[in-house]
């Protein structure tokens, strides 16, 4: 009998639902409570649950720290890049009205991209924090 059978079975059922819920919260941030921060943290919490039950080594093989470092920097770059794009298109920095032919469409697109950047950075940073804390051997 494997260790912690109940935990493993329940986690296998729950973790996909948690990740799906995190994606739902990210993309429905316009219509219900939610947005980038909450989605990033919930996604990271799902992966941390996996790491707690199935082992840190397996998680590090599935999501290597190098990829997470790139993701966390690119989230900030997406956000700043949206601002530069609006300057190129003729407006001020982070003026979403210029992103599309109609101002409200531009705002929708701008908010979508910005929340995507925020969610990516928050998810990868929280997971990197967990890797750094949990990977530290006691007495190292």
């Amino acid at each position: 009998m494997l260790h912690h059978t109940v935990l493993r079975v329940v986690a296998k059922l729950l973790i996909p639902v948690i990740l799906l819920f995190a994606l739902y919260v990210q993309f429905h941030g316009d219509y219900s409570p939610g947005g980038g921060f909450q989605a990033g943290v919930i996604f990271a919490a799902g992966i941390i649950l996996y790491a707690l039950i199935f082992g840190l080594e397996d998680t590090m093989e599935a999501l290597p720290p190098g990829v997470l470092k790139i993701l966390s920097a690119s989230g900030v770059l997406i956000y700043a890049g949206v601002g530069l794009e609006t300057i190129i298109l003729g407006g001020n920095y982070l003026d979403y009205n210029f992103l599309a032919h109609e101002p409200t469409h531009g705002q929708h697109l701008g908010i979508f991209l910005v929340e995507l950047g925020v969610g990516t950075t928050v998810f990868s940073t929280m997971l990197l924090l967990y890797y750094a804390f949990a990977g530290r051997e006691p007495g190292q």
Partner: protein, 188 residues
């Protein structure tokens, strides 16, 4: 309104009991669990006060990430607090009491809780609530203020999170753990 008031008072009373227990408790794992319960109850208080986004974030961040990090720190340091021998316990109590009394005196001039005519509700907030459906067109006003009207602050916040990740990696570093053969243990 009456039910809201009752739930609010009950949750805040629970939080006060937990705060006193955290002060007195010496077992640090217990302190970490009480801290997690404190965060979860504060998420309940935020929900009762109509702050849905804030409750979401506080429940996920406070009861999730913060507790995990404190537990991870505790497994690498001591598990019990040693009693303090030299300091006099009355001086911190005096400082805390004086500060609390000054704060209560300072907040006694605030308007009644929930007053719709308070100055906080009549200057900038009506403009956002009225203009946000026309200018931006999404129902969640908090997201529209966060991402569009106050977009610079959110850019700064994202940079702060990234900087914290960089700082922790500079301090602790990530050591890639290789899987060893026949390794069935689970980590802390």
């Amino acid at each position: 309104m009456n039910l809201q008031f009752t739930i609010d008072i009950l949750l805040l009373a629970f939080m006060a009991v937990i705060a006193i227990a955290v002060v007195r408790m010496r077992d640090l794992f217990g302190v970490a669990m009480l801290f997690s319960a404190f965060s979860l109850l504060s998420a309940g208080v935020f929900t009762v006060m109509d702050a849905a986004d804030v409750a979401f974030t506080e429940a996920a961040v406070g009861a999730g990430i913060s507790t995990i990090l404190i537990l991870a720190t505790l497994t690498r340091t001591a598990r019990e607090e040693k009693p303090r021998k030299s300091r006099d316990p009355r001086v911190p109590l005096l400082v805390v009491t004086v500060t609390g009394a000054l704060l209560m005196f300072g907040t006694s001039d605030l308007p009644r809780l929930g007053d719709p005519n308070a100055p906080i509700h009549t200057h900038v907030a009506p403009r956002y609530i009225l203009e946000s459906p026309k200018e931006i067109g999404i129902p969640n006003i908090v997201t529209s203020v966060l991402a569009s009207y106050r977009g610079y602050d959110t850019l700064g916040e994202t940079t702060v999170i990234f900087t914290a990740g960089v700082a922790v990696m500079a301090l602790l570093g990530i050591r890639r753990r290789r899987r060893r053969e026949g390794d069935e243990k689970e980590p802390d």
